[in-house]
Symmetry: C2
Subunit: 256 residues, 2 copies
């Protein structure tokens, strides 16, 4: 591991990447925190542009680090987006909409999901259950913003993240790739997620925005619900996603 | 609905209840927000001491209100614990450790769970799946603190909440009540939650602290895990609880 100081250009990029415009101009993002950087290095080392860290941040990392630019705690705090930083940020190229063919048993589609914490948590759970294709529509929070990457602990770097203009074009692309059944997660109606037969069989599972649900209902789409005994508030978006995604694990008995 | 101003004693109580000491002295708690107050009124109207609200808060309520003490928005903001208040707070007696017999198919036990948001979210999900007995150990966050009630949307008022000195005395009490099988949620080992046969058959399901897991392993307890395909970070405490609790719903086919 070689060490030196970050250049002025690098420091200015670090700050610019906190904005959507900054990320768009450079096609890079910030990946902050020990676990997120570990995930990035383990899975997509090729994307790393540079890493800045404090001595404390370097000590906390459990993996081999490439070149690191050192900052003092005080300097670092000016670039961190968290209250209690872990002392390490990587700048990485955004691997959005890769050229690779569509992989796996089903596509998880997030339609205008607004909250970066939810986007991150859902990405992380999807990665944890072995998901591969994370698709989303315009109007969602940026999956590559600081908070989404931190909440996801860098899971985004392990997924094929693809962006679409709207849910219709997303479903068209899925159909072309052989994923023909569209399931819309609904809080109140539809087939039970515990019995819906085609739920993970070359299908798309769509989760809509926290406040308004999905932006539209594609032709021939089906609704899938998590059955609940009472007439109570439904689960929030991240909880619902967790239950639906773990149902995939339950059905794949080799894991059980 | 009659309306007048809160007394000085009531306003001072409102503030005192933000502290654990204040709640202990008066055996009361604050229940803030439209949904939480609606839940309280629907389920345990008998506990309500008084309600303070702004005109806006009153308009937002979808149920019949008893007597309400009116505050201006400016006055209210001095007593609210949230940034964007909904303009209504009820003060209610704490219904802890009720005299009623232990009810239902299983007991959910939270052992030194620290985060009020997690405590609230788990309470809410447990209530939503028809759970009845929510037990917890000393060292947990106070279930009646402001944030736990807000996150729970008042679900605590619909549950039999009982406190124990430690996990051993909790398990002893459960055994006496006929709940003999103890399951400890474990991130890595144990029976699969999708197949563990006795999971909800007069059992106790224990969820430990976010950082350290359970405080001890009671004699003859079993571990139950959520199987995950990869070698990835486990789900957080609230996500794990959601999956385990929804497994109860899945097994009770009358709901599906």
């Amino acid at each position: 591991m070689t060490q030196n100081s970050p250049s002025r250009r690098e420091l200015s990029l670090l700050r610019a990447l906190l904005t959507r415009g900054g990320r768009k101009r450079s096609n890079c993002c910030r990946c902050e925190g020990v676990r997120a950087v570990e995930e990035l290095l383990a899975r997509r080392k090729d994307l790393v542009q540079f890493i800045v860290a404090t001595r404390r941040g370097i000590d906390a990392m459990r993996c081999e680090l490439p070149e690191v630019k050192i900052l003092s705690e005080e300097e670092f705090s000016q670039y961190s987006d968290t209250l209690n930083s872990q002392g390490v940020i990587a700048v990485a190229e955004i691997p959005e909409s890769p050229d690779t063919p569509v992989a796996g048993d089903f596509i998880l589609a997030l339609d205008q999901l607004n909250d970066p914490g939810n986007f991150g948590t859902i990405s992380r759970t999807y990665r944890a259950i072995g998901g591969q294709e994370l698709w989303y529509t315009k109007g969602s929070v940026d999956p590559w913003c600081d908070k989404a990457i931190r909440s996801g602990m860098g899971a985004q770097f392990s997924l094929n993240v693809r962006k679409f203009d709207d849910l219709r074009s997303l479903c068209d692309a899925a159909e072309k790739a052989g994923f023909q059944t569209i399931y819309i997660a609904d809080p109140h109606k539809g087939e039970s997620c515990f019995t819906a037969e085609k739920l993970f069989k070359k299908s798309v599972l769509v989760i809509g925005s926290e406040a308004n649900g999905v932006s539209m209902f594609p032709e021939n789409s089906r609704s899938v619900m998590i059955p609940m005994p009472g007439d109570y508030e439904s689960l929030n978006a991240a909880q619902a996603a967790t239950v639906l995604l773990l149902e995939y694990v339950r059905r794949n008995t080799q894991y059980i």
